[in-house]
Amino acid sequence: MCGTRVLRSLAVSLVAGMLYFSYSGPTLAQAGAAPADQDARMRVLQQRIDDLNKQVKDLQDQEAKTSKTVATVDKAWSTFIKGFFGTLDVSIDYTTKGMEDMVAYHLACTGPNGGPPCTLDHNNPKNGGAPPYGRVSWMAMMSSNGSNVGYRGSHQIGTSSVDFIYQVSASIDMAAAPGLQNTWTKSSNTVQGALGLGDTFIGLRNKRGGQLKFGEMYSPYKTSTDRLNPFAGMLGNYSVVMGNTGGDNRIEFGTRIDHIIVYDSPTWNGFSFDASYSFGQNPDPYNNITPLGSPDCSGSNNPGSGNLFLNCDDGGFNYSYGGDLKFEYGGLYLVAAYELHSQVARSSDGIGSNNPIYGAMDGVGDLCGTVPPPPPGGYPTPDARLDCGTFLAYQAEFPGAAAVSTPPYNPAYDTADEYAMKAGGQYHFQFGLTVSYLWEEMKRKVPDSMQFQNERQRNGQWAAIEYEFSGGANRIALGWAHAGASVGDPGGQHNFDPNGVGNNTSNMYTAAFWHKFDKQLTWYFNYAVTVNNVNAHYDIGAGSHGIKTDCHDATHTPFIDYSSAGPTTWGGCRPQGYSTGLNFKF
């Protein structure tokens, strides 16, 4: 603005000067001045005009430069602002765990060492027939669902065709103050709102070569099928079953992975692929401690989950790798993906187990030979599948707690590779209908002698239809997820039924409606129910919804039955709920 004003003033002066001299010229001529003198004066005037023209031109050039700078700054500012992205999502939920009438029974076993075969002793209920403790029926709640803020951008490296890319992201809770989120229903003790609780990486990108990212982020195994799941962030998210090996709230094949390298290929004739590798960084051969540089156990669990203090024996793994292959042509999308977690520690599956096979390993409850008096002939030799060394060390340090606890499995037996693979397809019709199907197989490679407690090996299915109507303002979707029976069961459920092993299937049904107010603000309504069979304990909301409604009651005494700790799990529960909320994206 300032430059423009000066320019205008000079232009006015120039015009005024020219008018003055053009008027005075004839007057002088009429006065009869000498031609030579007149010529000299004309040259002086011409010189002045030239000088003024030069000044005007200089100022014009200067103004042009300023305008260019302003335009460049505007563009840079616009690019900078566009780098911010995020989601703000809060819902009101009304859910039930669907287990208020359940009763647990002791087992009547007639096998060696109190082992199978067993029946439920209906004349001998646990805790006098007490139902699940606490408010396990309908409850209203407010939930923040996947709210996050992030920044992403790219930077051309010199004049090359390679860009440096980056993204930082933070998870924020819209309904509770930041703090530790070490709760029984959300297995993470990281601080809410911390930077890094979202895909965070740096990397390199080339149009023809694809992009290579380094950081912590979702692996291709998850991202490749995100588009098959319209219910992200909702109670009926497909992660209730898909990628969720053990039920409950933690999605091990579909979690963010620390220190991971991800390569995303370009698309060639509709084909593309992604690959990932995560450094294990775990000095413990059984991965029972947190990886170097990570506050949590790998597998998105907090140290201590699984009942052993500060251990990662409920899913900690070493390195991980995986990838996907995708094909897209018109409305057709086909995908296959694979991911391996190496040497996954599960030794805590033994602690608190109500599985009679586990009970028989430990003799008749002699707790690695610590319960007096010794039987005639002395204590039996502990089963090699039990980690009596750790248990005895624990017993010496904390005799009171050990007296009501049980030994974990020997990590040499219960540390094994786990992998998952899935294949699916989707078709989007031009009139707004989308149909999706996904099949998944998950495996845990433990010795045959440990298969009886292998709840990590099963198949799963997901089907969804989604339809956009009212010109795009409204959307509706239906979904169904099915968990196949696992080959075994650790027996952590308070009401574990040994005759229900192989019958722990589950079905989750969900429906949702979305109404868009504009490009960014959406109102939604979601209903979901999970129908668990016998020992199954899948929840609603796993993997994305802020508050999970699961099959744990509110028990807050450390030990409740054989040796179960904390909120007790009830197999066969039927969680269901309604959720309505607002979602704003920017």
Binding site: S300, T434, K519
Partner: protein, 114 residues
């Protein structure tokens, strides 16, 4: 298609031309084809951008569009599955867009992963 049309009109008869003149004219016609293709690509890109910006239900803030030989490449992040499908559907309708390559990422609404 516009580029092909220009190429056909611009190409002179092969006979009755000296080699040097033929070479010069071929170079010239190739330049016309390239520039016409580029112009057509730019037009498609503009149409795609306008379509996404004008659509009342699409947030196109984080989407970049590039067109090469009529192949439209979409990059960036989108909010949900509904928005993704709508973007792809709208872009496929645009005249001149021979194919739409989807390299969009879903904005994650599930940050805890479990």
């Amino acid at each position: 298609m516009a580029a092909l049309g220009v190429a056909a009109l611009a190409r002179p008869p092969a006979s009755a031309q000296s080699p040097a003149a033929t070479s010069r004219r071929q170079t010239s016609s190739e330049e016309i084809v390239v520039s016409a293709t580029r112009k057509a690509d730019e037009q498609v890109t503009e149409r795609v951008q306008r379509t996404l910006t004008d659509d009342p239900w699409i947030c196109a803030e984080h989407i970049t569009v590039a067109t090469r030989n009529g192949v439209v490449r979409l990059e960036g992040i989108v909010g949900d599955t509904g928005e993704l499908f709508r973007i792809l559907r709208q872009c496929r309708k645009i005249p001149g867009a021979r194919r739409v390559v989807n390299e969009l990422e879903m904005m994650h609404n599930d940050p805890d992963g479990g």
